[in-house]
Every structure is written in C-alpha cells, then in structure tokens.
Amino acid sequence: MKQKTDVQQGTLALMVLKTLDVLGPLHGYGVARRIEQISGDLLSVNQGTLYPVLLRLEQEGSVASEWGPSENNRRARFYRLTPAGRKALQEEKRDWEQTAAIVARFFDVKAGELS
C-alpha cells in the first residue's frame, strides 16, 4: 500500500476553508471526516492536528467559532467561514490553480518541444 501523504499545514488550512465553504458551519470532527472522505483516505490526517490549524485560522480571522449542539446532542464547537476567510480562500484557490497549471504544462511537454 502506498504511504499516506503527510499533509502540510498550508494545504490542510486550505482544505479546511474549502470544506467550510461548501458545507457551511461544521464542528471539528465533521471537518476531519469530510477531508478524509474527499482525499479518499489517502490523506488520513493525524486528526488532532486539525485543531491547532483551526485555532490559527480563527486567530487570523478567516473562521469564527461558537458552541452549539451536535447531531447527537453533544456540545460541540462549530466553525464557519467569515467574509475575510472567503476572500482568503479565493486567493489561495487562484494561487493553487496557477501553480497546478504550470506544473501540468511541464508534464505535458514533449522532448521535441523543448529543443
């Protein structure tokens, strides 16, 4: 089996933002589950590392949080995207797409085109 990719902090933060963008307010467990599902278990995070990232995003002002009841009536902390977070997400998304496009073009290059 292939080694699970070590998720870098920045990527994880981006995933968190995107998850909250798509699904609306979520608690920490929900975010973790979602990321795990989408990355197809390839990115099974050491789930706890999510919490410092969430805190950091909150301190940056990208997300806000408050207590609320979870589906099974537990007290859970719900995170939601702030307008600043949405803007940050768009910027990051653009950056990623640009990077990805450049890398993709490099992979597409054939030997003859470089000479």
Partner: protein, 878 residues
C-alpha cells in the same frame, strides 16, 4: 493583514492570559466520542471502537502543545517562566542575591557617572545648528590656556581674504563688569561678539532679538545687550518685558534687546557667558584698531566640500601675508582648526583624562563581573545535584543554560537598575553642588547614558552568566548524582574560579595602585614649588579707569596705600595679571641696538608683568639677586626690569644678568634684579621666561591687588572691596582668595585624585568580597574534611592553610600581576595624574600593604570558622 490579525490575537491572549485549554479538552472529547460512535456503527466492539478513535486522533500532548504555541507567544511565555523561576530561586538565597546586586550596582553606577560626564563634555554636540561644520581658529603651536586667536583688524582681514569659509565670526570672551539696573548690582562676565555671531551659530532668540549683522556700524554704534537665559531668570526674574530695559555695564549704558535661548551657552562648555554685546560697543574701543593684542576667538563654518587641512593652509598663507604687511605686529604664526567647546587645546588633555578614567572604570566593572562570575560558579557547583537531576529527568541542557543565564541577567538587571538610580542621584547632586572653577557643565542622564547603562548591564550579565552555564554544559549528571555533595567537581590544580579570583585581584591591585599614584601626585602637586605662595593671600582684580585728571600711576599708588593701611594687612602689592588665572601671552623682547622692531628680530617672547614695589614680598617670590622695583623708578627715571632666572639664563647664559639691557615696549630697560622661576599657567609646565616692569614705567589698566593679612578671609574680602570701590564705584572688582583663583588649574589633579580614590575604594571592596566569598565557600564545602582533619589531630596551621591557603596564594599572585599591569599602564596613568609614577616605592609599598590587609581582613572570618570546627557535631549532622 492576516498575519497582523494573528499577531494581535496572540499578544492579546498573552497579556490577558486567556487560555483555551478547557475548550481544546472539550473539543477533543467530543471529537473522540463522535468517532467512537461512528466506529460502533461500523460494527466494532465498544472498547475497541474507543481505542481506534483515539489512535486515529493521534497523540494529544503534542497537539496540545501546538495549540498552546499557536494561541500565545511561546518564547515570551518561556522567558516569563524562566524569570519567575529565577526570581523565586534568588529570593530563596537573599544574601547571595544582595551581594550580587550590590556588586554590580557599584560597577554599573561608577560607569554611568563617568559615562555621563564623558557624554556631557565630549560626546554631546554643542547646541548650535549643524555643529559638525563649526570650527575654531587657533594658532598652530600647541598651547594650554585660554583660546585667544587674533586681533580685531586681523580678524577682519581673515574674513575678507579667506576663500574657504562660508562665514567667520569672532568673540571676546573676557569682558565683564558691574551690571546695574534699577537699584540692583551684579558682577557679570560675558562675550562681546561680532554682528554675525548668532547668525553663524544658527541661534534664535527666545525673547526680543539677538545681536545681528546690522549692528556692526563702527565704534559705539550699537549699545545693545542680549541676556543669557540664566541671567534673565536669576537677575530679572524671567520678566518678559525686559526688552528695552536700560542697564549699565561698568559706566557704559546698554539697552537689553533680547534673551538667548535656554539651551545656548556660547560655544565653550565650561565657560558660560551671562550676556552678549556687539563687539563695536566694547568699552575698550581701541582694540578695534589695535593689531597687537589677540583678544578675539574666531569661529567659522566651512564651505561645503572644503577640508579643514586645506582651510588651515589657506589661513596660514593669509597669516604670512599679514606678517609681511604689518611686520611689527603680526607674527605670521600659521593657523589650524580645532573643534570649539573645550578651551581650544585643553580638549586633548580633558579627552585623555576622561578616557583614562573611563578605562579604569570599565576595569572596575570587569572586576565586579569576575566577582559575580565566581559567585555564580560556586552556586552552580552547589546546585550541581539539582541540575543533574533535571537533566536526568529530561530537561535539555540548553534549557538549563537558559535558566542559569536568566538568573544572571535578572541579577544584572536589578544591579544595573540600582546602579543607574544611584548614579542619577549622584549626578544630580554634582550638578547642584557644582563649584565654579570647572565652570558649568550640565551632566544629565539622557537617552544615551541610559542606553549605555542597559548595554553594560546586559553585557556584564552575559559575561558572568557564561561561567556557570559553561559548567552545566560540561557536567555529567551521572557523575554528579553518584558523588556526594561535598565533592561534586574533581579538584583540578587550577580551576576556573581560581583564575577568576586571580584576575579580579590583579585588576583591583591595579586600581588600588592607581589611586595611590593619584593621591601621591596630588600631594606632590600641592607641594610643588610654584615660585609664589598662594596660601592665605587674597587677590582683588579690577580695571582702574584711565579717565579723569589724575594719572593712572598715581591712582594706583593711592589705592595701594589705602589697601596697605587696612588694619591687619601685613603686605600688599599689585600685579597686572596673577599667575594661574589665564590670559598671559609672550611679549617680543629685542636686544639693545635693534632699529627695526619686526617680530623676526625679537630674541625671546617671555611673559611680561607690571608690578608695584613690594609685589615679590607679598606674593612670596624670592629675590635671588639685585633689587626689587621701587617708587623711585618713575617714568622719568631710567627704565628698569626684574627678570626671572630662566629669562636671565636664556638671554645671557652664565654671564651676570644684572646690568644687562633689553628692549621691550619701545624702551631700553636695564635689569636690576633677578627673581626665582615660577609657574604661570599650569603646575606641570617647565618654568617659562618672564620679566617684571614697575607699573610706573609701563601703564596697564588691569590691576590685581595681592594682600596678605592675619584676618579672616571673608572679613578681609569685604574690607578690600569696600576700600577699592571707594576709588572706582563703577569698576568690576573680583575679590577672592588666591587658592580659589587657582582652583581651576588644580582642578584636574583634584578630580583625578578624588575620582581614582573612589575607584580604589570600590576596587578594595570588590577585592574583599571576592576573597571573602572564595574563602568562605572553600571552608563551607570542606567542612567535613576539615572536621576529620581536626578529629585526626591536625594542627591549627594545617587547618588554616587548608581553609584559606588557596585564596591567600591567589592574593599574592594576583597582586603581583596587578603591580606589573600598573607599571605597564603608567602611560595611561600619566594622562590622568601629574607626574604619575607607579614605580614609586611608597606607592608600591602602600599597594602591597593594602592588599595584604584586605586579604587578611577578608579571610579572617572563614579561617576562624574553620578553626572552630567541632568534629563531633559535624560528624553527627552529615
């Protein structure tokens, strides 16, 4: 923006001590519960489900740490923890802490005081606009004494002919007199300045206007006076309507036109004028044409891009031109540029002195650091087991080193703060209780001084913190825990602590010796032959007015007779200028038969003084041969002179000088007497040649009466002033004791002796604490061993040598090294002290004795403690 938000939140969290511990714990709990439920739903047994949930979540402790680190400012938090721990540890050993703080407070305090003075005297720029571009003209030969440069006509020539200055201004810094306004009278001294003086310096008035270029419109065209801030405040109660007030200076009327700003005190740091008047209105208007004198000090601003060297060449060329044009008056001596502020060349002396003292003060700090380093090292050795335990429990060495460094820095900060406060108080007291001779110089603790104190504190903290840190770095926990507390470090032949103590003692010996040298220098200086006896003599300086019908000579004679008849006066005489009060200059002397009195025909430029009969007797100058001047040497009689021994030897060698002739002040004069040499400007000078003329044969308005009497000084001063002002109510009369008048000349040696004396005292204290600390520590660590020795029947001698032998040996070696250092540093000492000679046997003996006594005193208590060891008690306790 995001980063800023984050930083702000972190700082807020840090300062409000808000902690999300609870929140994180709850979130983790809820997360794991949710995961467990999910697992159970997937068909896993409940116990296993919870375990897997936890595995998936990962180790909570690192997450918690990350979370905390993200939340606040971890570096600062750790630092706070360290500091708090350090304070707790230090609090638990108050004696150690107090000694540390006190030691460092001494070192830092001494440095702050010295740096404050250096800053005020040397480093801080003058309060004029663009001070870096301001220069003072000075004659090329290095001369001590007052900063006189040119005559007024020569100044005008320089101003018109030079090509390198954007502006030249001159001032006469030696004017003064009795200031009268309303019914009040006050003796003042001030500057008479050229019209562009304030403009050149870029000074703006705080009230009214200053002297301005349009005031230069010929003699007596501008009877205006600008007051200094302090005169305005003390004499005029800071009256804002002072502008327009008529005042009289001497008998000349002036009108106050403005007040200079509070921060401006002219360009001399030690001589603050009370007022400024236009040079065209100086009461001695003659000197606007006279090329002979050199009353003006000249300041100038260079044009951009011009170097001082080129300027000096340009000026010297002009001087040579002037010497050709006016051969009888202008010497053509080349000029150079110096920085204004410290009486011309005195700057070099003052700088040497201050930097020398600074060096010695830094040594005090180094000795204090060595002292503290050995204290801390001893403590670290005692705490070896604690530290080893912490290493064994997983603390990183780096963490421990940081902890010890923090302790050192905390102690150094406390000590530095204490030192700074003490120094500030001391400097404040110095400023208030300033004696007039060194003049006013405002020493204040400004930002620079504070920064320097902080820097010194930090550096010394790091210095003495490094020693214990190094010890911890190298220690092995296993060894420390295995061995007992009494013997935790292997005894090397020469430990680092021994070296530290040795170095400390060497430095202290150096300082103690230096203070002995300076005190010796001071004593020697006080007994140096001056060629006159200033003790118990009073002097009264005044300008005798030339106006009126009575000739000056007769006025003076009448005044002298009046002074002589004051009850209690045993001797009285007059002289044109008292030695050691400055303002003397060489007067060209020509051999008989000279027809062309150009300066290059002169044979000697001795000092010339005019005196009354009886001056030598009053001053205490011995007549070697011939006779004193007498009342019979009138203007009609053949002109005579008395010369000093150096004059006679230089002019005529071994031939008898009496009966020889020379020409000075346009008259052929015959030598009728020879007096002993004396000093004129400073105690260190080799005796200059000088001649004395009877005042009846060469008139000078400036006169100083010298009076000896049996009566109390203040009584005599009052009587003198009363008598003299009866003759000249308007003249400014300065009465003081001759000693006080000389205080300025003696000040450097006094300052050196007291400064170095204090430093020697500090050093002695440091040496005592160092030796005491080491010996006491030695004894306490070896208590058990000493107990066993005593139990086995060791003799007193052996116990003592075991207890304090090592410190005593170190004392000997260190003192010897210190004495050698002192001999090597004699050049430095020579900068500070008159005739410094560290090889003087009295000094060496004194230093050795002092150090021996200090050593004895410091090791006595530990030695007694060692002797009082009671073996049975000791065995039972350990």
């Amino acid at each position: 923006m995001k980063a800023l938000n984050r930083l702000i939140r972190r700082v807020v969290n840090f300062t409000t001590r808000r902690r999300g511990e609870e929140r994180l714990r709850e979130e983790i709990e809820s997360h794991i519960a949710a995961q467990t439920e999910e697992n159970i739903r997937a068909g896993i047994l409940p116990a296993e489900a919870a375990r897997q949930a936890r595995v998936k979540f990962g180790a909570t402790e690192p997450i918690r740490q990350d979370y905390r680190a993200e939340e606040g400012l971890p570096l600062l938090e750790d630092l706070m923890l360290d500091v708090r721990y350090a304070l707790r540890v230090l609090w638990k050993s108050p004696a150690f802490t107090l000694v540390g703080i006190f030691t460092l407070a001494l070192g830092i305090g001494a440095n702050v005081v010295v740096f404050g003075v250096v800053n005020a005297v040397l480093l801080r720029p003058l309060d004029v606009s663009d001070p870096h571009n301001l220069y003072q003209l000075r004659l090329k030969p290095w001369t001590s004494g007052k900063a006189l440069t040119t005559s007024y006509p020569a100044f005008e020539d320089y101003r018109q002919r030079n090509t390198t200055f954007s502006g030249l201004a001159g001032y006469n810094g030696f004017t003064g007199g009795r200031l009268r306004w309303g019914n009040a009278v006050k003796n003042v001294s001030g500057y008479s300045v050229t019209g562009n003086y304030f403009e050149l310096l870029g000074v703006q008035p705080q009230l009214g206007r200053l002297v301005q270029p349009t005031d230069d419109r010929g003699p007596n065209s501008a009877p205006y006076m600008v007051l200094s801030d302090s005169l305005w405040r003390t004499a005029f109660n800071a009256d804002p309507s002072v502008v327009g007030t008529p005042v009289r200076l001497g008998k000349y009327p002036f009108t106050v036109v403005g007040v200079a700003p509070a921060r401006f005190h002219g360009t001399e740091r030690f001589q603050w004028p009370d007022y400024w008047t236009p040079v065209v209105n100086n009461f001695d208007a003659k000197y606007l044409q006279d090329r002979k004198g050199r009353p003006l000090t000249v300041l100038g601003r260079l044009k951009p891009g011009v170097t001082p060297e080129r300027t000096a060449e340009d000026l010297s060329a002009i001087a040579a031109q002037l010497a050709k044009e006016y051969p009888t008056t202008d010497t053509g001596v080349p000029l150079r540029l110096v920085r204004p502020g410290l009486q011309g060349d005195a700057r070099d002396v003052i700088r040497g002195f201050l930097y020398g003292v600074t060096g010695l003060t830094l040594l005090v700090l180094v000795a204090a650091c060595a002292n503290l380093a050995s204290l801390f090292a001893a403590r670290a050795a005692d705490r070896n087991r604690e530290l080893a335990l912490r290493v064994a429990l997983g603390a990183s060495r780096w963490r421990l080193v940081r902890q010890l460094m923090t302790e050192a820095i905390v102690v150094s900060m406390l000590g530095g703060a204490a030192g700074l406060v003490a120094a500030t108080l001391l400097l404040g007291a110095l400023n208030r209780g300033q004696s007039p001779p060194p003049g006013q110089v405002a020493v204040s603790v400004d930002t620079g001084v504070n920064l320097a104190a902080l820097l010194l504190t930090l550096v010394s903290g790091l210095l003495f913190g490094m020693i214990p840190a190094r010890q911890v770095w190298q220690s092995s926990p296993l060894q420390a825990i295995k061995s007992g507390p009494a013997d935790s470090t292997p005894r090397r032949r020469l430990s680092l602590r021994d070296l530290l103590l040795g170095a400390q003692i060497a430095i202290c010996t150096l300082l103690v010796t230096a203070s002995f040298v300076s005190v010796r220098g001071m004593v020697r200086m006080l007994h140096a032959p001056l060629g006159f006896q200033p003790q118990s003599a009073m002097i009264a300086e005044m300008a005798v007015s030339e106006e009126g019908d009575v000739p000056l000579e007769q006025k003076k004679k009448a005044m002298l007779e009046a002074v002589q008849s004051i009850p209690g006066v045993t001797a009285a005489g007059t002289v044109s200028k008292v030695p050691f009060t400055g303002g003397l200059r060489g007067i060209p002397v020509f051999p008989p038969g000279t027809t062309e009195f150009t300066l290059n025909h002169s044979v000697l430029e001795p000092y010339g003084l005019t005196i009354s009969p009886g001056y030598f007797e009053t001053a205490g100058t011995r007549l070697l041969s011939g006779r004193d001047v007498s009342w019979h040497d009138t203007a009609e009689a053949p002109h005579v002179a008395v010369v000093n021994a150096t004059f006679a030897r230089t002019m005529w060698g071994d031939a008898p000088a009496i009966g020889q002739r020379f020409i000075v002040f346009d008259h052929l004069r015959e030598v009728v007497g020879i007096v002993e040499d004396s000093k004129y400007n400073e105690i260190g000078e080799s005796p200059p040649p000088a001649f004395y003329l009877p005042f009846s044969q060469h008139e000078q308005a400036n006169t100083t009466f010298i009076v000896r009497s049996q009566r109390a000084q203040n009584e005599m001063a009052a009587a003198l002033e009363r008598t003299l002002s009866g003759f000249a109510p308007d003249a400014s009369i300065m009465v003081q004791s001759w000693r006080d008048a000389m205080a300025g000349a003696l000040f450097p040696s006094r300052a050196a002796a007291s400064g170095l004396g204090v430093m020697g005292l500090l050093a002695a204290m440091l040496a005592v604490t160092g030796i005491f600390g080491m010996a006491a520590y030695n004894v306490s660590r070896r208590m058990k061993e000493l107990g066993i020795r005593v139990a086995l029947g060791a003799r007193t001698k052996h116990v003592i040598s075991a207890a304090v032998g090592r410190p005593i040996v170190l004392l000997g070696v260190g003192s010897f090294a210190g004495l050698i250092l002192c001999v090597l540093a004699s050049r430095l000492l020579a900068q500070i002290v008159y005739q410094a000679n560290p090889r003087d046997p009295v000094v060496v003996l004194g230093a050795v004795l002092t150090m021996a006594l200090l050593g004895l005193a410091a090791s006595a208590i530990p030695a007694l403690r060692a002797l009082a060891v009671d073996p049975s008690k000791l065995m039972r306790t350990e």
